[in-house]
Symmetry: C2
Subunit: 332 residues, 2 copies
């Protein structure tokens, strides 16, 4: 049986290209006692994976050159040596970009297929949703009537952040990179949405959108948007530093106006985080997100690309803003 | 009776000079019922006052041009219309740069002259000491064996930060601008001290001084020192953002390497603050600092300039690093 695999061919300098991804045909692995053979259904492509392509020390170990890329995957159990996950079970876990793989049951979570589409457990009800949940609710802690800004608002994390902030009674402003995304954010209930690519003066646009200043900032992007937000921080503002996608492909250390003076004057708090900082609280997060989804308080948007061979293209599209909502590749 | 006063003559562009300070002779004011006539004994000059010389919005209102500069002052009651503060009482408060002034008793705190020299209530046991106390103990929360870096370590706040970190069992590294200050920090018990002016590679020096990385950073200075610290942050580092003296006289927005990527990867927390954020806890802070001082666990260094006319020079000296420890002007 054919088993396509994508390995890291080389480390990128600057923006990754298709050349970094090598397709190989591997044997379908044989599960050991207690293990499962899994057929990949959906592959998640996420901005944080850019960091793992580099050798630089970061919060997760780099991918190894010549080894399969791994990430969030929804898969179906096609051979089971563990009674808890019988054939036909749908699971989510950190798995290789590969059509078939084996894994221990304890590294997987069963997808409750009756609750939501399976792919949602890679997005709204998975890692990106949890990132929004803990970053916004634990770090930013928006209060009723406060103003929340989220950059990369139409991405997998941002779309959840904005909706959670609305649930908490805040005024929500999102930034995104196209008029279609701006319209999408409005449809989600964002109070204001700014197309950062076509807005001539981001500072003015933010000041107009946030007449009472900014209390919370959930940053997925960094750079010019962040600089503009920092000019409008209210006293005791809270900043969840989640991502800096505008700089992930930089080849030199990015420079900009130093933020410390503005953070100091406003007694602001900035907290860098990664969702795994909250690992012990993931079950709580999934349960709450699922409840709000079931109640109709949370919606999900997905940009689904079809075909295993399209995984690299879908990943590269994250950096040109191709996706609205969660970027997913449907493999089988 | 002559009553010399220093008023703000004009707002500085860049580094302030003596031209910004105008000496005037005013009438000795007459206290109203319930008020006190105060004779200024010690005037505190502090870096934060630079911010008040500018018109820009900050955490405290700007000084008004043509009006007396105000700041921390220790004074003696020479005429009392309030039985709680009889003639001869020594008090500390926010008062004008003036030989004699009047104030309501409720805006003043009595100096417990039996506990420590009166000028210490402008430094170790006053606003700078409280700044160190809350910034280090509330924001940084150093644990036994952790590594704490403090910039501007030989200043009024920094000297206290380092000593408090030693009380908490941390390894303490200070940066300062002269070999004399480095020697002073060593005498205070700092584990390492770095002369940032003569050290060719701050990053290498910090790496050598902090072989296990940096857990806490108390920043009074900003700029190149901060950039170097951010390269060595441990996971879940805590940064108390207290001052940015290296940039207070900048005439353009200071630029530098963007810090967000480093803060993100280390899941670090950065908190800007001003000591007044902790106003309700000041009595606790003064009591604890006084207790540690009485026990011999805290020492104070002062750079005392003599004479009312020397106040502007003492203030300007803050920006050229003239002071070791607290800069004080002895007026009478």
């Amino acid at each position: 049986m054919n088993n396509k695999t994508i390995v890291l061919a080389s480390r990128p300098t600057g923006t990754p290209t298709a050349a970094q991804f090598q397709f190989e045909k591997r044997e379908v692995p044989t599960p050991e006692p207690g293990q499962l053979l899994l057929k990949t259904l959906y592959v998640s492509v996420d901005p944080y994976m850019r960091g793992r392509m580099s050798a630089a020390k970061s919060y997760i170990a780099p991918f190894a050159v010549g080894e399969p890329i791994t990430g969030g995957v929804v898969a179906e159990v096609v051979e089971s040596h563990n009674p808890q996950l019988p054939v036909g079970s749908v699971v989510v876990g950190n798995l290789p970009w590969q059509q078939y793989s084996v894994a221990d049951a304890k590294t997987l979570n069963r997808v409750p297929a009756d609750k939501a589409p399976a792919s949602y457990f890679l997005g709204l009800l998975g890692m990106p949703g949890l990132t929004a949940y803990f970053g916004l609710l634990d770090i930013c802690q928006p209060k009723v009537g406060e103003t929340v800004v989220v950059s990369g608002a139409a991405g997998a994390v941002g779309m959840v952040v904005g909706q959670l902030a609305k649930i908490k009674g805040a005024r929500v402003i999102g930034t995104a990179g196209s008029d279609e995304k701006v319209a999408y954010l409005k449809s989600l209930g964002f109070d204001e949405a700014i197309n950062y690519k076509t807005t001539p003066n981001l500072g003015k646009a933010l000041a107009a959108a946030a007449p009472h200043g900014i209390d919370c900032y959930f940053d997925n992007v960094g750079g010019a948007i962040t600089d503009a937000v920092y000019d409008h921080l209210n006293k005791h503002a809270r900043i969840a530093l989640c991502g800096q996608i505008s700089m992930y492909n930089a080849t030199e250390v990015p420079t900009g106006p130093r933020p410390e003076g503005k953070l100091l004057k406003s007694s602001s708090r900035l907290q860098g985080f990664i969702v795994s900082d909250y690992l012990p609280r993931w079950p709580e997060g999934v349960a709450q997100l699922t409840e709000w989804y079931t109640e109709g308080l949370l919606k999900s948007e997905e940009t689904i690309t079809e075909g295993f061979d399209q995984i690299p293209a879908a990943f590269l599209g994250l950096f040109t803003g191709e996706n609205t909502g969660k970027a997913i590749v449907k493999v089988a």
